[in-house]
């Protein structure tokens, strides 16, 4: 068992599950989407990105690309939340919630690709 692979798989999977948990629920209802979950998803996604640094293989490059996409989407979702909460006068309206959650939905797709890549890599691994 390779400890590096365990940590790597753990973070990639955790980023996807947290993201999924946040995305779940009525897209326009702010009560169903906990902001702490989004923040945790962002932090884990960043860690997963850093873990993918320095891999020179082709699959490593795609891994890094998907992670960067997920980061970008989650950062955008967080900015929407900050905008709605702190700057706009209306607060968390249904429109703001919907755009925040749909952005995180994009990140979820990227995270799913990451998981698929991880599974593919594991399945095609031949020892010796």
């Amino acid at each position: 068992m390779n400890l590096e692979k365990v940590i790597f798989g753990f973070f990639v999977l955790l980023a996807a599950t947290l993201n999924f948990g946040f995305f779940l629920g009525d897209i326009a209802n702010p009560d169903l989407h906990n902001i702490y979950e989004l923040f945790a998803a962002l932090a884990v996604s960043l860690i997963a990105t850093v873990l993918k640094f320095g891999d020179r293989t082709q699959i490593g490059a795609v891994h890094l690309a998907t992670s960067l996409v997920a980061d970008l989407q989650l950062v955008a979702a967080s900015i929407v939340w900050v905008w709605a909460n702190e700057i706009s006068a209306q607060g968390m309206t249904a429109v703001h919630t919907a755009s925040m959650v749909s952005l995180s939905g994009g990140a979820l797709l990227a995270n799913l690709v990451s998981v698929v890549l991880l599974v593919t890599e594991t399945v095609t691994f031949h020892r010796g």
């Binding site: 902001i35 923040f39 945790a40 932090a43 960043l46 860690i47 850093v50 320095g54 020179r56 939340w81």
Partner: protein
């Protein structure tokens, strides 16, 4: 490969593919070496970056969970955004204070904790980054990357110079003066630093690497389309051999010049293609023989090889007969002794180690075994009756002390010395020896003569056959026309590109060299230009005279100053100037006047070409 057509195809084209593929593969590998360093940095930065992210996450979330008090007395917590903002300016030590309102003590407790945590995190991350930047292999990889980029961007013909020692430096200066671009590889970082510090006109890329490694040679542009030649001038014969080999295998089309002092290595170099091998000892022996037989030829040779701006050297008066004493019978001693004997001179040999002598089987006649720096040993060679002495050991101190002793016992001796270290130059200069071998300079001059203009090399090879009086005469002409400093040497090919104005007249056999070298301002004045060589097909004429009739595609090598060169070029390019200089005819230089005066023009071949060449007017 079961398909017969495929097999046929492969046999037909595999050779060509292989030649084209090898350099590119080597290039990819050297580029990969450079980029791998970037991956190492990213890999090593993983732990510090993750630590930072975790610390940030924990302190931001923690701060939102700790209860605080709003100004109106109601319990209130910071939300994620406020907490993130606060932690950002606190962790980066900017510190705007407690925003949006004063903290409760519980919050202050958490903030204290997270400040220490984040300071440790930042220190760790920045420390790791700085350590990586100082990392030797990383810096080397960066330097290699910068170097390959510089070489890849070169868009002019360049020479690849392996070894930037004394010879390399002298050559780099000469070539830089000629406007020839170079790329340098040297194993010593001091030499590469010296390259950076030296003030060259062009920016010469230098790489600190072992030239024997084909990847480094490829990185230095061996497979670059603009690479025009390879010079292997390191101090190490093995490295030079490796460079010669690599160049011959990867780029068989390139000329290679290699330096060696060993005959077996020279043989092994010649096994790969046709490199020009320069052996400084061998060349010095040839020069010494030339100096003995034909002092003026030797003087001319050293002057021409000195490069642009070289001072006219003094003409020596070596003794033409008598007995010579040879101190030090190593590789250098053997070459020189053979040359002296070939010139019909008696040679007495002094050698400290008997082992060197034993190699040839029988002891040579006239050999004295002993340390030549010992006065008693020199006395046995009977210096009083000798005419010349060669101090040719590989130790400068020994050579100098021998010279001093010899001069004391016989002031009339013709002294030849070998200088090994560049630092001894001042000492040998004050000794005022009659002929001094500095191997690096011999190599530099030789390579310069071979590479700068191929016609100069041809001239130098054919020159000794012309005799001493001819050489003395040519030196007189050069001095009269160009002064004591060697003028620029340049070549002209009389073709449509370089001499468009002469085309028709050349074909008719109307142009003589003497007429061509008249001044465009006043054709009675001769240009201060000396024609050194005329090459027509395979035939070469040294110092062609004014009566020579020029033909199309003749190549000429001239010596003369830049101003004279420009005047000659205007004769070659401008129709009206050419007509005046060659035939004393006035031709209108504009197209309209030419059309108007077409009828009363004296017959010449201008009619057919006036339209084509009017753009030059």
């Amino acid at each position: 490969m079961s398909n017969p057509l495929l097999v046929f195809w492969a046999q037909l084209f595999s050779r060509r593919e292989a030649v084209g593929r090898v350099p590119s593969q080597a290039h990819i590998e050297s580029a990969a070496q450079a980029s791998s360093a970037i991956f190492v940095v990213m890999r090593r930065m993983r732990a510090p970056l993750i630590t930072l992210i975790v610390i940030f996450f924990v302190s931001v979330v923690g701060l939102t969970l700790i209860p605080g008090v709003a100004p109106d007395g109601q319990p209130a917590r910071l939300n994620l955004f406020e907490s993130f903002y606060f932690m950002s300016y606190t962790a980066t030590t900017i510190g705007f204070g407690e925003l949006p309102w004063p903290f409760s003590n519980a919050q202050r407790l958490w903030v204290t904790f997270s400040i220490y945590l984040s300071v440790v995190g930042w220190a760790y991350a920045i420390g790791s980054l700085l350590t990586l930047l100082q990392d030797r292999s990383f810096r080397q990889a960066l330097a290699l990357r910068r170097f390959t980029g510089k070489v890849a961007r070169l868009r002019e013909p360049f020479l690849l110079l392996a070894g930037y020692g004394r010879a390399g430096e002298l050559l780099a200066k000469s070539f830089d003066a000629l406007g020839q671009q170079l790329v340098v590889i040297d194993e010593s970082s001091e030499r590469v630093d010296a390259l950076d510090l030296a003030s060259y006109h062009s920016d010469i890329p230098g790489l600190r690497a072992n030239a024997a490694n084909p990847h480094h040679l490829t990185a230095a542009g061996l497979d670059h389309p603009f690479c025009s030649g390879v010079l292997a001038l390191t101090n190490n014969d093995e490295t030079n051999l490796a460079v010669t080999m690599t160049a011959a295998l990867l780029r068989p089309d390139l000329p290679v010049i290699a330096r060696t002092v060993s005959a077996p290595i020279a043989e092994r170099m010649r096994a790969f293609g046709t490199p020009a091998v320069v052996n400084p000892f061998d060349r010095f022996g040839d020069h010494l023989r030339l100096a003995l037989n034909a002092p003026a030829s030797y003087q001319l040779l050293t002057w021409l090889e000195a490069g642009p701006g070289g001072e006219l050297p003094e003409r020596g008066h070596p003794p033409t007969d008598g007995r010579w004493v040879m101190c030090g019978y190593g590789r250098f001693g053997r070459e020189v002794t053979a040359d002296l004997r070939a010139a019909g001179l008696d040679v007495t040999i002094i050698e400290a180690g008997a082992t060197d002598l034993g190699e040839r089987g029988e002891p040579e006649p006239g050999v004295i075994v002993g340390d030549a720096s010992h006065p008693g040993v020199l006395a046995r060679a009977d210096l009083a009756s000798a005419v010349g002495l060669v101090a040719g050991t590989d130790n400068d101190t020994t050579n100098l002390s021998m010279l001093a002793t010899a001069r004391k016992s016989n002031p009339q001796l013709f002294l030849v010395a070998r200088q090994n270290q560049p630092t001894s130059a001042a000492l040998f200069e004050t000794m005022r020896v009659d002929a001094l071998l500095v191997p690096t300079e011999v190599v530099a001059h030789e390579v310069y003569a071979q590479i700068s203009t191929p016609m100069l090399w041809r001239f130098i090879r054919e020159m000794p056959a012309q005799g001493d009086e001819w050489a003395a005469d040519l030196i007189q002409r050069l001095r009269y026309n160009c002064g004591r400093e060697l003028p620029a040497l340049w070549k002209v090919k009389l073709d449509a590109e370089q001499a468009p104005a002469l085309g028709g007249w050349l074909a008719d056999g109307k142009v003589t060299l003497g007429d061509l070298l008249r001044s465009p301002e006043d054709r009675k004045r001769r240009l201060l230009v000396v024609p050194l060589l005329l090459v027509r097909g395979d035939e070469a004429v040294l110092t062609p005279d004014g009566e020579t009739i020029l033909k199309p595609d003749d190549q000429l090598l001239f010596a003369g100053h830049g101003s004279e060169r420009r005047e000659l070029e205007s004769t070659l390019v401008v129709d009206s100037t050419g007509a005046y200089v060659l035939f004393d005819q006035q031709i209108p230089s504009s197209w309209i006047w030419r059309k108007l005066s077409r009828k009363n023009r004296t017959p010449s071949t201008l009619d057919d070409r006036s339209d084509a060449s009017s753009s030059h007017v």
